[in-house]
Amino acid sequence: MSRRESHIADELTALLDGALDGARRAEVEAHLAGCAGCRAERDRLARALSALAALPPPAAPRPGFEQRFYARLAREAPRRRSLLERLGAHPLRWLVPATGLAAALAAGIWVRQDRQRADLEMASHLDLLENYVAVASLDVVETPEDLDVVTHLDELRGARR
């Protein structure tokens, strides 16, 4: 397949999705009229989209879906706010960024030692590690629910802005 044909192939999904503007659509369709390879590729992609259309809908929730959420909301929203307020009022709150930085440095050393294994794992948990070390140092993690708040600490900081 030539470079030009390859470029057209990149447009076939957008063509099927109706996402090409009029001029580009006309160019792609003109190319298709004279290129059996690209027509075959378009048809292959179209068959895949048809197969996806036969996919059954995701499983529906169990009865009581809304009630379970409202119960969790009532349980967790005040606790999250409460912990944030305790953090904000703590005399050692200035330690949070410093401890977070120390955790990040320690994490960096660990990552260098075993980069291949650690890269994804550590990158995805770095914020959690920082939050946990910072909050634990202030002695405000008392319950499993507090731990959950720690995992969302960045959001709470954002929400306070």
Partner: protein, 196 residues
């Protein structure tokens, strides 16, 4: 932009109207759970993720600005949360559960659509779901997110670009590459609707 009734509800919630928030959950909570099911295998976990998304929404309501459609804002939170879940990887190893028998509770009859499937149709649908799930799990995360938003949520490329914080040409490329992967993975399903 056309008036967005969900944005009005969100603004009402910003003003302290908790009922407006509940109205948003009642309107979008189940769809959010369905979206989350494209990222995790079992429906109980998908429900938890959907709850997480709305808890985040509850906490970050002050950051919402009606310049973006509410659903765009919601998709952004949900996509980020689901991708974080996938990155953690802890649910990839879980065996797939039959959603109707996780705890013996029946599914919500209000949410069931259409006539009941025959056993053959159900088996075929389950097999197709497994193949699609496996295909999604193999996609790079940006392709996976773009593909789910385009194929299952029906979002236009422009809105996907806003949700993912990227450009329309980038979305076009992501959706195309993922669709090529899907075509390869679903080759056995092409034509008659059953793998040969």
């Amino acid at each position: 932009m056309a008036p967005d009734p969900d944005a009005a509800l969100m603004l009402a919630f910003q003003g302290g109207d908790e009922k407006a928030f509940r109205a948003l959950f009642e309107k979008h909570g189940r769809a959010t759970m369905a979206f989350c099911q494209r990222f995790v295998k079992d429906s109980a976990r998908a429900e938890e993720l959907a709850q997480d998304v709305f808890l985040k929404l509850h906490q970050s309501a002050d950051r919402y600005r009606p310049s973006a459609r509410f659903t765009t804002f919601l998709y952004r939170i949900a996509t980020n949360h689901c991708l974080n879940e996938v990155r953690r990887g802890e649910y990839q190893a879980r065996p797939e559960l039959d959603p109707a028998s996780e705890d013996g509770a029946p599914l919500d009859p209000d949410a069931l659509a259409g006539p009941a499937a025959t056993p053959e149709e159900e088996a075929r649908g389950n097999a197709l779901s497994r193949d699609v799930g496996a295909m999604l799990a193999r996609l790079p995360e940006s392709q996976r997110a773009a593909f789910v938003l385009a194929r299952f949520e029906g979002l236009p490329y422009e809105e996907i670009a806003v949700v993912l914080g990227t450009t329309v040409p980038s979305v076009k490329s992501l959706v195309h590459r993922a669709t090529v992967s899907a075509a390869r993975a679903l080759e056995p399903w092409s034509g008659k609707g059953t793998p040969s």
